[in-house]
């Protein structure tokens, strides 16, 4: 193995290096230099994220266990930048006195999961995939329980770890069935040997449901609301964007490589799950008054929409999913950013507290409005195009009824997204949240999100490029 082969793992290697440097820097920076330490760490991650944009070779190493190409790089870039935005939005929370000395801890846990996701997405082998998945999950439970002195946060952590272990068991069972039939753990080889026997269908169902847990598709979603609500808000936004996105990415890869020949079977499975997920997600979201729970359930419904693109097993379908996740990242992080700014400033997390917010904080309200518009899919913000492409993907496969159901559910979702805007803009309050100025990193992150929302909606080059790189998944077979 030559040096250039090692460089194929550039993203993960850099992340590992950054983790080590942060670990040491945590000791070097004194207690009164936490702000500098924070900026230093964010800068390191920024460097890693930017490096990902430079062109990279595609190929595989370790005998095909690790594979990389334009598609994987694109997915990792999305995850890296989402992480960066999450960290930018965390300063308000970090700067509180009791959090200050634990910044390093948080960063390292977060980066570990990101490394795990990187390996997971790049895996060409079930073992690598499983290792990556666990590395991406276990530190997350620690992050969810990060405010361990709050019972809700501790509860969130324990719920996440228990149910994750549960889902891993089911996933492993599925993997072992596939191994039993094909005698191999390599994606490519297994894909060629799978023949549609009962056992392989069972393997598919079990692996799919195991991953559905991470994507929080109904009925494997029940952990979502409790964990999202209990975790610190920045962990929640990480869970709902980065963790969910990575799970969707690996699901795309596994379904389209290993189970490519069983396409008509997983189509029907996803078909049913989409309908249940979108409907249940929406029904729950309507009732929520806590902003974190609200976003949690809305993100369940969004996961259902994402599956509309997964169902189309073509380069176009894959590209619609990746594009939607990019857009979803901007919109959801913008919404979480505003919610976390408010939470860090006032501790308020109920939607009812947002009454009259436009009067006191017009800019943040506008960001929230854009985010809600994008999540609901209102043109011209990027969310509209994201949803539009997903619907096109499902319609191209001929699932018109499914698209119709999805469109009807979009209308329901419009109701609760607009409700948030209504509370902020129209309803009056005697004691609205007072004006406050967000800190600089938060401002930067919100500007990035808003620009992303507007620009990705207006530049089709992004989507065309995604279609081009997604083709790799299908040409190799």
């Amino acid at each position: 193995m030559s040096f250039s082969d090692i460089l194929l793992m550039r993203n993960e290697l850099l992340l590992v290096a950054a983790t080590v440097v942060i670990l040491i820097a945590d000791l070097v920076f004194a207690a009164d230099q936490r702000k500098q330490f924070y900026y230093f760490s964010v800068f390191l991650i920024f460097i890693v994220a930017i490096t990902g944009l430079f062109p990279s070779e595609s190929g595989s190493i370790f005998g095909g266990m690790y594979e990389t190409g334009g598609l994987q790089i694109m997915m990792k870039n999305i995850l890296n930048f989402s992480t960066l935005i999450v960290l930018l939005q965390s300063w308000g929370w970090f700067s509180q006195v009791k959090q200050q000395k634990r910044i390093g801890e948080f960063m390292i846990l977060l980066l570990s999961t990101l490394i795990g996701m990187g390996y997971m997405i790049s895996s060409g082998h079930f073992l690598m995939f499983y290792l990556g998945l666990e590395l991406a999950t276990i530190p997350l439970a620690a992050l969810a329980a990060y405010d361990y002195y709050k019972s809700k946060s501790a509860e969130a952590g324990i719920k996440l770890i228990l149910l994750a272990a549960f889902s891993s068991g089911i996933l492993l069972f599925g993997i072992s069935l596939i191994y039993g039939i094909t005698g191999t753990l390599y994606f490519g080889e297994a894909g060629q040997l799978i023949n549609g026997s009962t056992l392989s269908v069972l393997g598919l169902v079990l692996i799919f449901t195991g991953l559905s847990f991470k994507v929080s598709l109904v009925p494997f979603h029940l952990w979502t609301a409790d964990v999202y609500e209990g975790s610190p808000i920045n962990v929640t936004s990480y869970l709902s964007v980065v963790s969910k996105g990575s799970a969707v990415f690996i699901m795309l890869i596994v379904l389209n490589t290993v189970f490519a020949s069983l396409n008509d079977i997983w189509d029907t499975l996803i078909y049913t799950i989409i309908i249940i997920t979108i409907t249940i997600g929406n029904l729950f979201a309507i009732r929520q008054r806590n902003i974190k729970r609200f976003l949690a359930f809305s993100s369940i419904a969004q996961a259902g929409f994402i599956m509309l693109g997964v169902i189309d097993n073509s380069a176009f379908g894959v590209a619609t999913v990746v594009y939607f996740i990019l857009v979803y990242m901007f919109s959801n992080l913008a919404a979480f950013g505003v919610a976390s700014a408010i939470s860090a400033e006032t501790g308020k997390e109920s939607i009812d507290d947002y009454k009259g917010f436009y009067g006191t904080n017009p800019r943040l309200s506008l960001v929230m409005m854009l985010a809600m518009f994008s999540l609901a899919g209102i043109p011209p913000v990027a969310g509209f195009f994201g949803k539009f492409f997903l619907f096109t993907a499902a319609a191209e496969k001929g699932y018109y009824i499914l698209v119709l159901i999805a469109v009807l559910n979009t209308i329901i979702s419009l109701y609760y997204y607009l409700l948030v805007i209504k509370v902020m803009f129209i309803e009056k309050s005697d004691s609205p949240i007072q004006f406050f100025s967000s800190n600089l990193p938060m401002k930067i992150s919100l500007v990035i999100c808003v620009l992303g929302l507007v620009i990705t909606g207006f530049t089709s080059g992004v989507f065309d490029y995604m279609v081009a790189v997604s083709d790799q998944l299908f040409s190799s077979i």
């Binding site: 549609g196 269908v201 847990f213 195009f385």
Partner: protein, 637 residues
């Protein structure tokens, strides 16, 4: 030579000015906002002239071909149906660039004087930049969707600027009226676009208007009420154009739009936006002429009718801006009629060339008339002619420039309007004698009502004014520049520049028509002079003898009242009320039922979210089991 890359800056600069001043509104000094806007449009003007010189005069070849200076794909609907954003350089777009940028630049400068001290000074300039961007984007559009996007942006900025004095209820009402009427017409445009793209599979102008393309060489679609589908589509497209260009019966918004600041009336409602409809027809002219001649007949009829109709109303109005507004409608009717009677290629295309020529000259003299009117209003603080008279001594610069414009619009040689009007009359004469007769009459009426206005304002009764003075240089300099254009733009060899198929041809001077048209114009002027030059009661006597005819034209043929009757009495009472009942009881009932069911369902399922982790695992496992069992049952192998 063929490099027009720089034209993209013509769009970027005004847009950047809009964004910059818009985002920092309230933080910038108003004067700085104005400077930024003027700088942006100034550079855009220079670039437009550069493009025009390069395209028309540095072009080695014999004919003019369309060039796509820039294009990027915005959105891919299918392999062929692509929405692009680009820049199309061809004779009419370059000509429009010159018109729009010049007038816009002049209006920007003029506004620094006219709007001085206004509360919304900065906001005004921000929207002015938006309008300039939208209008320039409209003429540079390479495809139907792009033109539609900018079309609506133009409509929006027009709405914002008409409603500039938003504290005045009449301004708000006028803005709303303009928006709703044009928006309604745009619905036709949109349906037309969809029909065209459905049959051709493309939005691109170069494909649609290609004389050898499938749209023109083959018959597509079926027929409806005796006309082909394509003809209907083109009539619908024209409907959009008629809305923006205030053709009968969509003309009602334009006179009301005079509630906006006068420079806005000059820019949007005289020189640029209102001719967008003419531009649209010209842009699609190949299709109209070669594949949908029936639609072209509709255009000719509407154009001729509107020009006469509006000219009649203009005679009896007393508000100087309203007179100019009706005059604009009448002149645009001229342009539409000229397009309608035009043939394709060579000298048969004289109507097309004449229409574009008139559009060009009209932009100068009508903008000048409006800016002059603004200068008058600035001095006497009234729009009504009864408050004016004998102003020629007080406002010398305004007087001379206004006179030049009035002579130009009346078609007196050697001013610009004479040449373009002469070509239009010649084109009408060659094609349809009835239209020629109508337009000939309108030429006389135009001369009459314009000089009625002129004499009433600058001559007529002697009055004393308090505190009256000529407008500042920032307002008079644009007047002089535009006056230069209004006087000499007629000498441009237009048939060598703008033709239907890009191949220049020679126009012959139509001496008989020229003499006849000058004669009727002079007749109109003499009558006006006799009635209004000195204060007299002759005009009232004539009005009294005309009786009901006078009242009907003064009340603008009661078109507004008819609209109100139709909308309020018929649509609201008969249709809306029954629909409202259906909506309230059936539709709402159904929606409430769905809403209640949704809420009830969401209440029922709350138990699943118990917080109990054992139950979560159980539900999880049940889901897995159901899925496996179903698949074991359906896929046993």
């Amino acid at each position: 030579m063929e490099n027009y890359q720089y034209t993209i800056w013509i769009l970027i600069l005004p847009f950047a000015a809009f964004l910059f001043t818009g985002i920092l509104s309230g933080k910038l000094k108003p004067s700085l906002t104005a400077t930024i806007s003027i700088g942006a449009i100034g550079i855009a003007t220079a670039l437009s002239y550069l493009a025009a010189i390069q395209y028309f005069f540095l072009n080695a070849s014999e004919s003019y071909t369309a060039v796509e200076a820039a294009s990027f794909t915005w959105y891919r609907l299918s392999d062929t149906l692509v929405i692009d954003m680009g820049i199309l350089i061809d004779p009419i777009s370059v000509m429009m660039l010159v018109v729009i940028s010049t007038v816009s630049f002049m209006v920007h400068i003029y506004s620094t004087g006219y709007m001085k001290g206004d509360d919304g000074y900065a906001r005004y300039f921000t929207f002015l930049s938006l309008f300039s961007f939208a209008m320039l984007g409209l003429v540079l559009a390479t495809n139907l969707i792009q033109i539609y996007v900018f079309w609506e942006l133009v409509g929006l900025s027009s709405y914002l600027l008409i409603g500039h004095y938003y504290q005045k209820p009449s301004a708000v009402a006028a803005a709303k009226k303009a928006f709703i009427v044009t928006r309604f017409a745009d619905l036709g445009f949109l349906i037309g676009i969809l029909m065209l793209s459905y049959y051709t599979g493309t939005f691109s102008f170069s494909d649609i208007t290609n004389p050898d393309g499938p749209l023109i060489t083959q018959t597509i679609g079926g027929t409806f009420l005796g006309l082909s589908t394509l003809t209907w589509a083109m009539i619908l497209v024209f409907m959009g154009g008629a809305g923006k260009s205030a053709m009968f019966p969509f003309h009602i918004w334009l006179p009301d739009a005079m509630e906006g600041p006068t420079p806005i009336s000059a820019l949007i409602h005289a020189a640029t936006m209102v001719v967008a409809g003419v531009y649209l027809v010209a842009r699609m002219f190949t299709v109209y002429s070669l594949a949908a001649p029936e639609a072209l007949e509709v255009i000719a009829f509407i154009g001729a009718f509107t020009s006469l109709f509006a000219a009649l109303i203009a005679i009896t109005q007393t508000d100087i801006k309203k007179i100019l507004a009706y005059s604009t409608i009448s002149q645009i009717g001229y342009m539409m009629m000229a397009l309608g009677v035009s043939g394709y290629s060579g000298e048969a295309g004289l109507g097309f060339t004449a229409s574009m020529f008139h559009l060009f000259t009209h932009a100068f003299f009508k903008a000048l008339l409006f800016l002059g009117a603004g200068s008058i209003i600035h001095a006497v603080h009234s729009n009504e002619m009864k408050d004016m008279g004998g102003l020629r001594k007080h406002l010398p610069a305004t007087h001379i420039t206004f006179l030049i414009a009035t002579l130009a619009i009346s078609g007196i040689p050697p001013f610009s309007g004479f040449f373009s009007k002469d070509e239009i009359l010649a084109a009408a004469y060659a094609s349809n004698k009835l239209y020629f007769a109508v337009e000939y009459l309108v030429a006389g009426l135009t001369a009459f009502y314009m000089f009625r206005l002129y004499f009433n304002v600058f001559w007529g009764k002697k009055r004393t004014y308090e505190n009256i003075h000529e407008s500042p240089a920032s307002m008079t300099i644009p007047l002089w520049i535009l006056a230069f254009g209004a006087a000499f733009a007629g000498f441009l060899p237009f048939s060598h520049l703008v033709t239907t198929d890009g191949i220049p041809f020679d126009t012959h001077f139509h001496l008989t028509i020229a003499i006849a048209s000058v004669a009727i114009a002079l007749t109109g002027i003499f009558i006006a002079a006799a009635l209004y030059r000195k204060e007299s009661t002759r005009s009232q006597k004539i009005a009294a003898t005309l009786g009901v005819f006078y009242t009907v034209t003064k009340e603008k043929f009661y078109v507004d009242e008819i609209y109100l009757f139709i909308t309020k009495k018929i649509i609201f009472n008969l249709i809306s009320k029954s629909i409202a009942w259906f909506d309230r009881h059936i539709v709402d009932g159904f929606m409430n039922l769905t809403g209640n069911t949704t809420v009830a369902a969401s209440f029922r399922i709350r138990k699943f979210q118990s917080g109990n982790i054992h139950q979560y695992a159980l539900v999880f496992l049940t889901g897995v089991l159901i899925a496996t069992l179903v698949y074991l049952y359906y896929y046993p192998k």
